[in-house]
């Protein structure tokens, strides 16, 4: 298969970027999108050019390193897969494919198609954990967890932190990412203990980092490669409200004492 690629090139964070056209030929339909880009880079290196920088690592859809808007869609046209699991058979022979980095204020470009997603780490550091230490925990079977809750927690925990939800959102909101972590931990008895504090801290951190607000377009759910649903956002909102309400009630009780 042959393709024309229009790729965003940008030397570094401060340089001005632009779209540049390239042609690739003789690509197998079984090749992954990155194997196609590898072929392009081989051509560029051997002809004295500068290869395209893109983030990738496991190439099996689980590490969350890869990104890319492909023809304007995060992770490309196939639903439920990351860019590394996108195969060229998803495209018609001879077409032009546009490739750009994630566009969001909180994800600045580092080079070409690579962006800085450390904002996600900061959000997890704000509270996306259960405060237990190594050692001194009870036997794993001490607390039974209803299977339905455990399964729902798993569904939320399957988030790979790629940032497609932010990239898909017209407001660059991180609500699906945070909602998934809040849900995962709030659904389990182990995480329930500090659920109120967690959601408040994570949301406050999100606001500080320059992510936008949710306007319920569900674009995040549509583009999430791991099928995380907006139910998690609803659950986060409920957790957030009840945390706030609880805090107010607590204050009234404290003041009355």
């Amino acid at each position: 298969m042959n393709f024309t690629l229009k790729i965003w090139r940008q030397k570094n964070a401060t340089a001005k970027g632009e779209m540049v056209s390239y042609n690739v030929k003789g690509i197998s339909s079984d090749s992954s999108f990155f194997e196609m880009l590898d072929t392009l880079n081989q051509q560029l290196i051997e002809s004295g050019g500068d290869p395209v920088a893109f983030d990738h690592d496991c190439r099996e859809g689980i590490c969350g390193t890869c990104s890319l808007y492909i023809n304007g869609r995060p992770h490309g046209p196939v639903k439920g897969v990351t860019t590394c699991q996108l195969h060229m058979r998803a495209f018609k022979d001879g077409v032009t494919i546009n490739v750009e980095p994630w566009r969001a204020k909180a994800f600045p470009v580092i080079r070409d198609l690579i962006v800085d997603r450390s904002a996600f780490d900061k959000i997890i550091q704000a509270g996306g954990f259960v405060s237990v230490n190594t050692g001194g925990v009870p036997d794993a079977n001490t607390i039974p967890v209803p299977k339905e809750k455990s399964d729902a927690a798993f569904d939320a925990a399957t988030c790979i932190g790629c940032g497609a939800c932010v990239a898909a959102c017209s407001n660059a909101a991180a609500m699906l990412f945070i909602g998934a972590k809040v849900s995962h931990l709030a659904l389990l008895p182990q995480g329930r203990v500090e659920a109120a504090k967690r959601v408040e801290k994570m949301v406050a951190c999100m606001d500080e980092l320059g992510f936008g607000n949710c306007s319920n377009t569900y674009a995040c759910e549509a583009e999430c490669p791991k099928g995380i649903t907006v139910v998690n956002i609803a659950r986060m909102n409920r957790e957030f409200l009840s945390a706030k309400l609880f805090a107010e009630k607590e204050k009234i009780v404290q003041d009355s004492l």
């Binding site: 570094n12 196609m36 690592d57 969350g64 390193t65 699991q85 237990v132 190594t134 079977n141 798993f154």
Partner: protein, 646 residues
């Protein structure tokens, strides 16, 4: 002449760890604050160690080449994690887990380390559950287990087909908590390119900031390498694209011995190679062998018809199928250990019975299991794996058998460590896949996650204190010292040399050539003549590489080709050592199969008289041959026998 002292505590194997812990020295909390530790890598071993050490009060710096610690390749582990909980009441115990691991490793691992691993395995499950890891559960709310290759009990805990992901996210959350608390500093997008020794002790590292290209110096009282395995020496493997040997190899060049480098695990159930542009291989979890049956056609005429697409796999009658694992190993059937399953697949394909367009694949068939358990039950067990397979191959395993073939997956060899997980360089530790210690010549399924987390959460936090207790009067190091300066200049010179060598070929083209040599001569089957040929080809490749590679871009900017160039340079040197190691080991054991040494039935034939040792290699200089040291393995608990899964 041997310099290897494993420092194994005295006493019965089941009491060694308790005795060690009672006798090891401690560091008080005030002094921990004054001690710095560097951890390289944020996979299960690195993240669990960094968070646990930070929590204890040490000052920790943790390095990863990825943009965030959560990307480390432990995340891709699918099947599960072993522990001797005996929740299913099927007769498991720490002793049995220990026994299975030693036997599975074909009696080439150290008893004391493996027993400790089995002993702490239960604590890992407790901790992970407390962190919020959503392991699979029964309707009663308690944890469930499944069986895995090489064991006759069900001791594997799992989170669908994403166990590694969930465990890593647990360790990452613990690490994030410590980063927020200020006890751990994260250095992401960094390649650690050299170790710094002061007066013979590990005192720091030289790292390259991958975004700015800056060469950084970092000092510490101890350094922990948790950089994972070196399977990418084969180019095509199930490892992540960035997985590399560089931190471990730089430690080797600074005096840490490298043990059993030729012990490589070829995983039996991976998606077969599709073509020349292929960049990596994808594993299909071993857990699939619980329900899937492996077969090839028994008759050559069916093989031909399949290849010509005249018939479908389901058209072949039951009697005309060769379920070769069930035929050869009736006791374990499709659940034989990985090395045995891989070799059996190779044997059938080499004999011409392979399927698929290349003839280098076998069937993994779920038709019986779907009939027996129902579509929904199979979906809940393997749904995401089936989906992944369909995405890559464009065929549904619900409708037609999967096609699989072995691929490089894990490396049992690695930096030699003693009982405390310290290398032969004082103050330099190696944990997780990058050390050699627990899996002998073959690793059992669901044991890598167990070992990474055991080392990081429950072993290193105890053993490192024993060393650091003597370091409390050592002040923080000045990175402007001559040792740091020399090491940093060495790294800069090496980068300049690679950049300016004036070649024309890409790094990848050399890496592919390296992979072909290693797979051909040092892969699933090895022999003396082939290994000699490999040494010859590798010497040539190394020379060509030093003058033939083209690196676009500059040293002081984001430059993925430069990153790869350092890694591939190290892989070529490692390849040479692997081949030498494979050549000196004139026996077959586990994943190391020397064609000259096999039983009449084609099974691996060990030579315990001469080779019941760990082969640890000492670096002797860039162009000098490495020196082999032997650590004799002593089996006091377990009697050595021919592994039998019949």
């Amino acid at each position: 002449m041997t310099r290897l002292n494993a420092r194994i505590p005295e006493g019965p194997v089941a009491e060694k760890w308790t005795a060690y812990k009672s006798g090891s020295k401690l560091v008080n909390p005030n002094n921990k604050r004054k001690l710095d530790i560097i951890v390289i890598g944020t996979g299960l071993a690195g993240a669990s160690a960094a968070s646990s050490l930070g929590q204890l009060g040490y000052n920790v710096k943790v390095f990863c080449y990825q943009d965030t610690p959560r990307r480390a390749h432990s995340i891709a582990a699918q099947g599960g994690i072993n522990a001797a909980k005996n929740y299913p009441n099927d007769g498991d115990s720490a002793y049995r887990l220990f026994y299975d691991t030693i036997k599975g490793g074909d009696y080439r691992a150290r008893e004391a380390n493996v027993y400790r691993l089995a002993e702490v395995s239960n604590q890992i499950i407790d901790l992970c559950v407390a962190q919020g890891v959503p392991f699979a559960r029964e309707y009663g709310g308690l944890l469930t287990n499944r069986s895995f290759g090489g064991a006759q009990v069900s001791r594997t805990f799992y989170a669908r087909g994403q166990t590694g992901q969930q465990l890593l996210l647990g360790a990452y959350s613990a690490l994030s908590r410590q980063i927020a608390a200020g006890s751990v500093t994260l250095c992401n997008r960094r390649d650690v390119l050299d170790m710094v020794l002061v007066d013979g002790k590990a005192r720091g590292v030289i790292a390259r900031n991958l975004v700015t290209g800056e060469i950084e110096r970092h000092a510490a009282h101890a350094v922990v390498i948790a950089s994972g395995g070196y399977g990418n020496v084969f180019f095509l493997s199930t490892n992540a694209m960035g997985s590399n040997v560089t931190p471990a190899w730089s430690a080797y060049r600074k005096g840490a011995m490298f043990a059993n480098p030729s012990f490589t695990q070829i995983h039996p159930t991976c998606i077969p190679v599709h073509g020349d542009a292929q960049s990596k291989l994808t594993l299909m979890s071993e857990s699939l062998r619980n329900d899937g049956r492996i077969w090839v056609p028994a008759k050559m005429k069916d093989v031909e018809k399949l290849r010509n697409k005249e018939i479908k796999p389901s058209d072949i009658a039951e009697a005309d199928r060769d379920y070769y694992l069930e035929r050869r190993y009736p006791a374990f059937g499709n659940l034989v250990p990985r090395d045995v399953a891989s070799r059996a697949a190779k044997e059938r394909c080499d004999a011409g019975f392979g399927v698929g367009s290349t003839g280098v694949a076998v069937f993994l068939d779920f038709a019986d299991a779907i009939k027996r358990k129902g579509h929904d039950a199979i979906d809940s067990l393997y749904g995401n794996l089936f989906q992944m397979y369909e995405q890559i191959v464009a065929e549904s395993p619900y409708e037609t058998p999967m096609m699989i073939y072995p691929a490089v997956h894990y490396t049992m060899g690695g930096l030699w460590v003693d009982y405390e997980l310290m290398t032969t360089v004082p103050g330099l530790y190696a944990i997780g896949e990058c050390n050699f210690s627990d899996h002998g010549a073959n690793r059992l399924g669901a044991s890598a996650l167990m070992q990474g987390l055991a080392d990081g959460y429950f072993v290193l936090p105890y053993t490192i204190g024993n060393y650091l207790s003597a370091e409390i009067h050592t002040p923080r190091f000045d990175t402007s010292s001559s040792e740091f300066k020399l090491a940093a200049e060495g790294v800069t010179d090496r980068l300049k040399q690679i950049k300016n060598c004036g070649g024309k070929e890409s790094v990848d083209s050399f890496h592919r050539r390296l992979g072909k040599i290693m797979w051909e001569y040092c892969g699933m089957a090895r022999n003396d003549a082939g290994l000699t040929e490999a040494l010859y080809q590798l010497t040539e490749l190394r020379q060509e590489y030093s003058r033939g590679v083209r690196i676009p871009g500059g040293l002081d900017e984001y430059n993925p080709e430069l990153e790869k160039a350092c890694r591939v340079g190290d892989f070529i040197e490692l390849g040479q050592l692997m081949v030498r190691d494979a050549q000196q080991r004139r026996e077959s054991c586990g994943g190391h199969f020397r064609e000259e040494y096999q039983t009449s039935e084609g099974e691996a034939l060990r030579n315990d008289e001469e080779f019941a040792f760990v082969g640890a290699w000492e670096y002797k200089g860039r162009d000098a041959a490495a020196a082999l040291h032997r650590e004799e393995l002593q089996f006091k608990e377990i009697k050595l026998s021919q592994r039998s899964y019949k």
